[in-house]
Symmetry: C2
Subunit: 429 residues, 2 copies
């Protein structure tokens, strides 16, 4: 047999994901050669604190604080960016591609906003830029969409893209906890960060929706195109009422390719408890895709975490290694060859669940109903749930309406003295 | 832009899957060029009945009854084998590979038994042999395992690999039907064939387990290595008792990579109703995989049918097209670089559910218990379910035991006069 081929890689960052990548590469040390026909060697890791980092690796001489040690090393053929955040990650990635290196990343913030620009730089340089880990962590999804499902017109995707919020909603649903208590539990268990904004406001999920919608619809969708709404206003009461209606409340990312443009949004939603996504609990993620040939398909697993995310990153590294050996880097780059408009959120049609406290007297229900009617919102169901002294709690389920018409109705209802409070408005699948 | 590159393909067969491939290629006609950088043209289709086939295609001149029209046409770079069965498919595929063509197939019978030989022929000729459609139809699974999850030691896979039997079990579970009635319904609805043996005896699922286990464990598993047991003996009573215990009965394919060798088997099994596979109903398939990095992951969708299967076949065709354009055919071939022994089924450990009718008198239970005990079968639970005159129905749940010890106990129990009938023995996950 010929001499063993060694492919050298550099890594930017040694946080949770970087440590995972380090561990997974180590655990695959024996398998790489027969699996790929080459061995992968981690030559340099860029870190902020050399002392702290040195303690995490077998050979402390591989850590450096100088990016140029990686960018200017001609032996390094693949750079793994796992530092996160937009800058300096963006500049580093572009510099590496321009230096003729292939790049693998787990950075959803960056790909969701700058994917087009980075993929163009990769193409210009004839290099790979792979980002499987940026959506749904360890779950294989980008490659399945770009390759296995390439023969489909994918019309819709829907998924649970954030494990923290799914954990919170699961606790609220299974144990009747309120949002604040469930969030504190998630923080105690290490699922939620001290500042949980990106998770609970749907921003993290929105980034993943943008990246996946771009791959699924072959048209660029950026994070800025995604409407996001979080779960902070969901109460245990909403979840209880949803259950009574045979539904579960999930924070869903939804994107559709419609003749009027692409819809992309993240918000809490009532879905039928028999839907496969309804049974995805705890911190698990899942993505449900519909294509004209494959029909419905779902991908389920760990959307975050050290080793699951590293599974996806190292899978990408192995793919680049194969491409290097076969001299076909850049084989699958940007697949956004369409240019579809983005539908404004007001034009999207949704069904709504509305819970409100209204004056408990003759004529109030009729007034509420007429506000809906005057704003082109058709009511599918109206239920009086309970009476609290002077006020009654009612739940209205609407038919499918344009969101702007619904907003108009809500604004008027919000200003009416007979309505004490609009407690919740949640979309229904 | 340079002249449009056209890649010509030939197809062997125009049955259900072939017709689906024809339709999907047509529906992708506009998208191919921007997606792949080339157009795919179906130049010839090998059929048995030219008249019948001609009615299915726009241009009847593309159908032929002569294999040589495809094998000897130097313009044809990809051959799609969707005729099914072992011969002449095997000889045709080998002839095409030796003629320097890439091959895509949906043929599970062939890949499960002859995968190694065909992949060796592909390698010898530097060509692609892709078979994504041979496992779980439209569900992306072979490529995810070989690429996305390549950084894992996959330790276990478990799945619902056959839609017909899952439909039958779903009807038995949801509507209390007996096996025979559910099978007839499946036949009336076109889910089951007139001779349902391959489905209901677990052979079809066994072939898929062999193919997927080979990819997952990087060691060749053939259909002959897979223990198979069907669902014909499952009764509505078993399903009812399983439900009472919080379980669902599914026909599961299970494969494990253990230090003593690879286990591969298909049989009915009780699984916890909260397990993600328990909620996979009707004719859907799903595959659950466990890896050391990714942890648990599941893939769900349509495991059969014209268009879902064609989705996988055309996805493979598109991948070959990209490989042709990048001059890297053969990039990912056989990944079985390990040679693990296959564990004999008697050495596999399982828990069992046993339902039997025994004489309803003092001492019988003790005798039954001692037979189990004498054969190293430890009992986890023993329940008396009902009394029918002279006989009592009991259910025994065992702890994990070696299958051969369990078989020994069953043989002795079967010969005891105080036991009227051993009604069911079903494994428990």
């Amino acid at each position: 047999m010929a001499e063993e081929r060694v492919i050298k890689i550099g890594m930017l960052g040694l946080g949770t994901v970087g440590t995972g990548v380090y561990k997974v590469l180590k655990s695959q040390q024996e398998e790489m050669l027969p699996k790929l026909g080459a061995r992968v060697e981690l030559k340099k890791i860029l870190v902020r604190n050399v002392e702290k980092a040195a303690a995490k690796v077998d050979d402390p001489s591989i850590v450096t604080m100088n990016f140029e040690d990686i960018a200017n090393d001609p032996e390094i053929e693949i750079v793994v960016e796992v530092m996160g955040g937009k800058q300096p990650a963006m500049n580093y990635i572009l510099a590496c591609l321009d230096a003729g290196k292939n790049v693998v990343t787990a950075n959803k913030d960056l790909v969701a906003s700058e994917g087009k620009k980075i993929l163009a730089a990769a193409k210009r340089n004839g290099k790979d830029f792979l980002y499987e880990a940026s959506v749904a962590g360890g779950i294989p999804i980008i490659r399945p969409v770009k390759q296995c499902l390439a023969a489909n017109h994918i019309t819709e995707l829907m998924g649970i893209f954030n494990g923290t919020t799914n954990f919170i909603l699961t606790k609220m649903s299974q144990e009747g906890m309120e949002f604040g208590d469930a969030l504190r539990l998630a923080q105690d268990m290490g699922y939620a960060e001290a500042d949980p904004t990106a998770d609970v406001e749907g921003l993290d999920a929105g980034r993943k929706v943008a990246i996946l919608a771009s791959a699924a619809f072959n048209s660029r969708v950026t994070f800025e195109d995604v409407y996001t709404e979080g779960i902070t206003k969901i109460t245990a009461t909403d979840i209880q009422y949803a259950k009574e209606m045979g539904c579960t409340i999930k924070l869903l990312g939804v994107a559709k390719d419609t003749p009027e443009g692409i819809e992309a949004r993240v918000h809490p939603m009532l879905i039928d408890s028999n839907h496969p996504l309804a049974t995805v609990n705890d911190s698990y993620n899942a993505v449900f895709l519909t294509g004209d040939a494959v029909q419905d398909t779902m991908f389920y697993g760990r959307g975050a975490g050290e080793l699951p995310t590293a599974s996806a990153v190292v899978g990408d590294i192995f793919d680049v290694v194969r491409n290097i050996l076969w001299n076909c880097c850049g084989r699958i780059g940007c697949t956004c060859y369409r240019e579809c408009p983005i539908k404004r959120v007001g034009e999207i049609k949704s069904k709504y669940f509305v819970r409100m406290q209204i004056e408990n007297r003759y004529g109030t229900l009729a007034s509420v109903a007429s506000v809906f009617g005057n704003n082109k919102v058709s009511i599918a169901q109206m239920l009086q749930k309970r009476v609290n002294g002077k006020y009654a709690e009612i739940v209205v389920i609407t038919d499918e309406v344009k969101e702007r018409h619904f907003e108009d109705a809500m604004q008027i209802l919000g200003g009416m003295s007979m309505i004490q409070e609009i407690s919740s408005t949640i979309r229904v699948y």
